[in-house]
């Protein structure tokens, strides 16, 4: 199931979003788990053998750090002082945020770590706090769990486009099992979503509307739920790279003149005075103690 979360991460990185703008929370250690016969690898499906764990994945919250409290604090920005930048969601009113959640869920909740849940009301309140603090311009909320649509039913903040892999009362089903590992590695909705994204390149003209239709009922078995009433634009006119990619225009300049920096500072650091330094013997000699 870690493919579920690494797959989209890998896709968005491929489309241009840098690591510094991705926050990844993984509760279980799968790739380097002693039971993984191919350590440090997570393949997106049993056939294609693309190692989505790759060589440049950065997990920001892992293990016991993945709690409901940390997730809500991350979204709302109320983190304790001293939290490193890679663990903060540094967005502002112009940022488009993609939130992807996966795991085990039910009617109105998503399970965290076998011991707690986040309810749809808490999720909605956290997003409303984000809106009040102007921490996003638009949010695309993707959730792939059982009864996923219940999580976005309670949203009440504007500019949120939400898609869930199943409606209330339905279960999301897995796609296939990797017999070497013995677990189902990816769910149907995410599998088809990733398949769609693999055919997208950074200059694509594809729209979010096409993405929302990516998994019809005959392949997904569960009905994909979509909520568009909070979203101001028409999804069919929103390019997919608004959320999944980041295209930063780069201009190459051939003529460069470098002006030397004129420093008016006359104060200089006082040169270091020579002192007597020594290495400390690493272990105390017992004869000084007895």
């Amino acid at each position: 199931m870690v493919t579920q979360i690494i797959g989209p991460c890998w896709s968005v990185k491929r489309l241009g979003i840098p690591d510094s703008q991705i926050i990844l929370m993984i509760a279980d250690d799968m790739a380097c788990n002693p039971r993984n016969p191919r350590p440090a690898t997570v393949f997106n499906n049993a056939n294609q053998h693309i190692n989505v764990y790759g060589d440049d994945v950065e997990v920001d919250y892992r293990g016991y750090e993945v709690t409901v409290e940390n997730f809500v604090r991350l979204l709302t920005g109320r983190l304790p002082p001293g939290t490193p930048r890679s663990k903060q969601l540094l967005t502002d009113e112009g940022s488009n945020v993609l939130i992807y959640l996966t795991g085990h869920g039910g009617d109105g909740f998503l399970k965290f770590q076998d011991s707690e849940e986040i309810t749809s009301q808490e999720m909605a309140d956290a997003l409303e706090q984000m809106w009040q603090k102007q921490r996003y311009h638009e949010i695309f909320f993707m959730i792939d769990t059982c009864q996923a649509a219940s999580m976005y039913e309670r949203f009440y903040s504007p500019n949120i486009l939400a898609v869930g892999s199943s409606l209330v009362g339905e279960d999301s089903l897995s796609h296939h099992v990797d017999p070497a590992i013995g677990v189902y590695i990816i769910d149907r909705y995410t599998y088809y979503a990733l398949e769609f994204l693999e055919n997208v390149d950074p200059h694509t003209k594809k729209t979010m509307g096409e993405f929302l239709n990516v998994c019809p009922k005959r392949v997904c078995i569960s009905t994909v739920g979509v909520r568009t009433n909070l979203f101001r634009r028409n999804p069919h006119q929103v390019p997919i790279t608004d959320f999944f990619g980041s295209v930063r225009p780069v201009e190459l300049i051939s003529n460069v003149t470098v002006q030397p920096l004129v420093t008016n500072k006359t104060q200089k650091k006082a040169p270091a005075l020579p002192k007597k330094y020594r290495y400390v013997p690493p272990l105390v000699d017992f004869k000084y103690l007895v």
Partner: protein, 558 residues
């Protein structure tokens, strides 16, 4: 591509790789990246850095760190069969740091340093806190140079997180601290799919001030980054190793920013288990250190693709393992979840006495009883030379025990201490409470007089080349033992409301009668013999007869 030859810049970078076949069917591979920056660590603001990673520099400057040692390891280093590594690391995460003497609040700086490191290395180092850190008195002295005469151990902190795993997400930011990242040079060999498929994997960062020159009147900042791997021939499939099998690719060229880029292959074992190196080495080096001779084959990294293969010639002798001078184990005794004991067994295989310091950092949820400390050497009770003990407090401080022992020659010392199992509040249990709680490894430090099977760097050196012919008075080893797991008894996590209701019911059972007794008086009242149900029945009957009699009256009227 324009090359900026910066002769005025004051930092130098070197990268080395050591490949050493170990006694059992294992291969030790160690990457050593060393940066030395001739700047004054006390005055440097880290605004303009060249080779030295700025991300690390900002952290050091902000938290007033004098020395920093971080290591993340997966797997256990088997001292009995593998000897000593170049740099030791405890399983899990281990961080220790010396702060500068003008630091005001060491605990606050330590906590924030751990938080910043957790963001830098993508590990959960933010769990390091005052309640699992100790300040060791004897074990972790400064490795770098100091100018004060007296070392004050209030400025050092040590913590270990045995539960941490090390995976690609830690390697990726670690690689970004190198000057060439993983694009060229030896670091390009660090492909996570290959280097995690090993018996032992550890990445480390060590930063300290060193002497700038022999006169040692000025200091420089030195940064060592290392990756230690132990490959298993069984997993590789064959004993004939090559770069392709170890790293998945060959080497494309050195890092342009490095001063020297070399590969050493330890050929000391070539005598007993001969193998042939292809291509031939550029040079052979003999190192006499501490009475032991080792031979190395040296390769300079060429600016074109290269790879090293080793072919074993099949003439194998039966090998006898001579265990190293000092190694140790740690385990838990006792049954049930009420009380137990921790035993650390230290083996001295040297022909002389050894002075060791045993550091135990025991978490606060394992309360130990110092009066049950027993040290048996070869079955005979001995007293230690000294004990430094700071008792722990629940939820505030761990138990810090340092024992100074003199081990007689060729002996086995067994240090045992009893502890109780505690009962925690229900929210203090992790989500997988029945997995257990970890107790970190013990650190046993000693100065060995001989350098047999010893590859550690000298205190004034930073590169593998510095360790050749580096005979010193003593060779520091800090042996780490295994971690231990204890299963603490758990309450029923589904019961909070039930427990509150039941306990309050009992309280009410006392309150009610006592309230009655104290506020009411005993009086005699007429006994009302009728039970409630009889009363109801009578009332119903009465009402029924009244209705019937009413209708009768009506009827009779009509």
């Amino acid at each position: 591509m324009p090359w900026f030859i910066l002769t005025s810049k004051s930092d130098r970078f070197s990268e080395e790789l050591l490949i050493k076949p170990l006694y059992s069917d294992h291969l030790y591979v160690h990457f050593q990246f060393a940066t030395k920056w001739d700047t004054n660590p006390d005055q440097e603001s880290f605004r303009h850095t060249h080779i030295f990673p700025r991300a690390l520099g900002e952290i050091i400057e902000r938290y007033n760190v004098q020395e920093l040692h971080v290591s993340l390891a997966g797997g256990l280093w088997r001292y009995e069969t593998w000897g000593y590594p170049i740099l030791d690391a405890a399983p899990g995460a281990e961080v220790w740091a010396w702060f500068k003497a003008d630091t005001e609040d060491v605990d606050k700086n330590w906590k924030e340093l751990a938080s910043s490191l957790s963001g830098l290395l993508c590990a959960s180092l933010n769990f390091i806190n005052v309640d699992n850190s100790v300040n060791p008195e004897y074990t972790f002295k400064p490795r770098g140079v100091v100018s004060d005469q007296k070392i004050n151990s209030t400025y050092v902190r040590y913590a270990s997180l045995p539960r941490e795993i090390v995976c690609t997400e830690n390697l990726t930011p670690w690689k970004k601290l190198l000057p060439c990242e993983s694009k060229s040079g030896l670091a390009s060999l660090l492909n996570s799919g290959y280097i995690h498929n090993v018996r032992y994997h550890s990445i480390a960062i060590h930063m300290r001030p060193v002497c700038r020159d022999d006169a040692c009147e000025f200091t420089s900042l030195e940064l060592q980054q290392s990756v230690s791997l132990v490959y298993d021939y069984l997993i590789m499939g064959t004993k004939n190793w090559s770069f392709r099998k170890l790293f998945g690719q060959g080497l494309m060229g050195p890092c342009p920013l490095s001063e020297n880029s070399v590969i050493f292959v330890d050929t000391t074992s070539n005598v007993s288990v001969p193998f042939q190196l292809i291509p031939s080495p550029d040079d052979y080096i003999t190192s006499v250190r501490g009475g032991h001779v080792s031979t190395f084959a040296k390769y300079n990294v060429k600016p074109y693709a290269m790879s090293i293969n080793a072919n074993y010639l099949g003439k194998e002798s039966v090998l006898l393992n001579s265990p190293p001078s000092l190694h140790a184990n740690q385990y838990i005794t006792g049954y049930g979840q009420e009380r137990g004991g921790i035993v650390t067994k230290i083996y001295n295989n040297h022909w002389g006495a050894l002075e060791v310091v045993v550091l135990q950092n025991i978490p606060w949820y394992v309360p130990i009883y110092l009066h049950t400390l027993k040290i048996d050497v070869n079955g005979v009770r001995v007293e230690p030379v000294g004990i430094h003990y700071i008792p722990g407090r629940q939820r505030q401080r761990p138990y810090h025990l340092e024992i100074l022992l003199k081990l007689p020659p060729r002996s086995v010392a067994s240090v045992s201490i009893d502890f109780d199992y505690v009962f925690l509040k229900w929210q203090e249990y992790p989500p997988d409470a029945n997995h257990g709680f970890y107790i970190g490894s013990a650190v046993i430090s000693a100065n060995l007089p001989l350098a047999r099977n010893f590859t550690g760097l000298p205190q004034d050196g930073a590169t593998i080349a510095d360790s050749f012919n580096a005979s010193r008075r003593g060779y520091l080893v800090q042996v780490r033992t295994e971690n231990m797991v204890i299963t603490l008894p758990t309450p029923d996590f589904s019961m909070p409301y039930n427990v509150i209701c039941l306990a309050c019911t009992v309280v009410a059972l006392a309150f009610g009668p006592l309230h009655n007794i104290t506020t009411k008086r005993l009086v005699l009242t007429v006994k009302d013999n009728e039970k409630l149900i009889v009363k109801i029945k009578n009332r119903i009957v009465k009402a029924w007869t009244e209705r019937n009699s009413g209708s009768d009256v009506n009827q009779s009227v009509q």
